[in-house]
């Protein structure tokens, strides 16, 4: 695809192509996290929708963020993969560029604890504010204590 060629020439040092197992998908690994915002800005004219944001927790090395972009013209997919430091998962927010990313990033913050710099409204989205822990992390084990916790102070 010409977009991929253009991106590769633009971000030559930090962008590498990976083989993808899915049809129509182009998989690119971005090694320089700071360049994400610029990259998204440059592809947002071509790929107009952030289809989904897949976060994979791979302890102890990294959080693997897969930004899956799609477009309405055809069924082409473009996946940008970014690896984050597991101890300090911080990355730039792209919610200002693509409004559809806003809640996906809030969800990643809620369930994984990944912080997005410059996000307009970074709060928990699915769980309540006093919920203990980040449930989708691999080190989070569903114990009886968690299952019995109601967040209420009930006395019978």
């Amino acid at each position: 695809m010409e977009t991929v060629e253009r991106l590769k020439s633009e971000f030559s040092s930090s962008l590498t192509s990976l083989p993808s197992t899915n049809a129509n998908e182009t998989l690119l690994l971005l090694s320089e996290n700071e360049a994400l915002k610029k990259l998204v800005k440059s592809i947002s004219t071509e790929f107009d929708i952030l289809f989904t944001l897949l976060v994979v927790d791979r302890p102890p090395e990294a959080f693997e963020l897969n930004y899956v972009f799609s477009r309405y013209r055809d069924s082409a997919l473009l996946t940008i993969r970014v690896n984050l430091n597991h101890d300090k998962p911080v990355i730039d927010s792209i919610a200002k560029i693509l409004p559809s990313a806003e809640w996906e990033e809030r969800e990643a913050y809620d369930l994984f604890g990944i912080k997005f710099r410059g996000h307009p409204d970074l709060r928990r989205i699915l769980l309540q504010d006093d919920w203990p822990g980040r449930p989708l992390r691999k080190d989070f084990v569903v114990t009886d204590e968690i299952r019995n916790w109601t967040g209420l102070d009930l006395k019978f």
Binding site: S20, T21, N22, A23, N24, E25, D48, I49, L50, F51, T52, L54, V55, V56, D57, N66, V68, Y72, D74, S75, L77, L98, P99, S100, E102, W103, L111, I125, L126, L127, Q128, P135, L136, F140, V142
Partner: protein, 368 residues
């Protein structure tokens, strides 16, 4: 001019409210009956489905996938089965392909009928509500005849379907489709889309431009109502959609009425697909042997389908174990509710229910 924020009232709608289509919550700031700010809050039926997928083996997750979107359960079953089959490199038999297509389309009609019913209820027209459910029951019976279940049928298995179609299925389905086509074209017309009181409430309400819909990631009937000709069944055909003849329904206005009309016409289009599929269904096996416990080698598998609410996708990450390493579920309603906070501003507070209903969200798949 007076500052409009001075006489601002904050009202809380939901999570238990008759018109929120489940348990959504909106914290709405209104000023003189006009909405100035909306803060949707979701997560009231968050069950941690993605974590549960990591705790169960592949087959045991099927009933959970069934209950993600309880209005279009069969579509999600097909999607999940498809993801696992893609990852396993299992190809299903031609008869299964057709059975799944038929089931997906039946579910689409059921889902859209429920949508019509709910819009009727939101606008205070209880009769449309009851009628929508009356016609939905007919299809429920057909599904029940094949699968034994009504709402959450658990009909798809990995590698096929659990039971073959019954002998009377085709005849019975065609009868039901005739009834529904007649009712949608006549009775529903009188009470909803040709009714002046109905048009008064929906035409020009919640207008969503093409650009707005695209940038907010809306898919399915919601974006088709804004004039974007985008349907995964046509664009990247899966199942038997490349073998049947149908059209992608679009409307240009992008208001609540257009979204309603897209669904009405999609019901008729689905009836067309079903009639063809019933005629062309091949005979043969309905199952491919897949063991109950199996391992999938490390890979990323991405599959997306067109559910009644839009483009749903599952991203499966495996690591050679009996369980998925990570399963990401992309729910189309999630994006619709995300868009609503910009869409509602400037509308009247009474239009909140109209716009929300016309986007057809399901909390089950939003919260997962």
């Amino acid at each position: 001019m007076k500052d409009s924020t001075q006489n601002k009232i904050t009202i809380n709608i939901g999570p238990v409210h008759p018109s929120t289509h489940g348990v959504l919550r909106f914290i709405v700031d209104i000023s003189e009956d006009t909405i100035v700010k909306v803060d949707p809050e979701i997560g009231y039926v968050h069950r941690g489905v993605e974590k549960m997928a990591e705790m169960k083996n592949y087959n045991s997750f099927m009933p959970v996938a069934d209950k993600l979107d309880y209005i279009a359960a069969l579509n999600w079953e097909v999607l999940y089965a498809d993801v696992i089959e893609k990852a396993l490199n299992v190809s299903i038999t031609p008869r299964t392909v057709y059975i799944r297509t038929i089931m997906c389309e039946i579910q689409r009609i059921m889902s859209h009928l429920l949508f019509l019913a709910h819009v009727g209820e939101d606008l205070g027209n209880t009769t449309l509500f009851m009628w929508g459910f009356r016609e939905r029951e007919l299809l429920m019976d057909v599904v029940e005849e094949v699968s034994g279940g009504r709402l959450a049928p658990m009909y798809m298995s990995i590698g096929g379907v659990y039971y073959d179609l019954t002998l009377s299925f085709g005849r019975r389905l065609l009868e039901v489709l005739d009834t529904i086509e007649h009712k949608v074209k006549n009775e529903y017309k009188a009470i909803s889309y040709q009714n002046d009181a109905f048009r008064l409430r929906t035409v020009g309400v919640g207008v969503m431009s093409k650009e707005f819909g695209i940038s907010h990631g809306l898919t399915g009937p919601n974006i088709r109502a804004s004039g974007v000709k985008r349907d995964l069944r046509k664009d990247s055909p899966y199942l038997a959609y490349d073998k049947v003849d149908f059209e992608v329904i679009t409307e240009n206005d992008g208001d609540a009425y257009a979204r309603f009309m897209v669904r009405i016409n999609e019901i008729l289009e689905s009836i067309k697909i079903l009639r063809q599929a019933i005629k062309e269904i091949p005979s043969g096996e309905t199952k491919v042997k897949v063991p109950w416990f199996f391992k999938i080698p490390p890979k990323y598998t991405f599959v997306r389908h067109e559910t009644p609410r839009g483009e749903a996708a599952m991203y499966l990450v495996t690591n050679g174990d009996l369980k998925p390493y990570r399963l990401k579920i992309r729910a189309p309603s999630f994006y619709a509710i995300q868009a609503i906070k910009d869409l509602l501003v400037g509308n009247k507070v009474a239009d909140l229910v109209t716009i929300l209903g016309s986007l057809d969200p399901v909390p089950g798949e939003i919260d997962r």
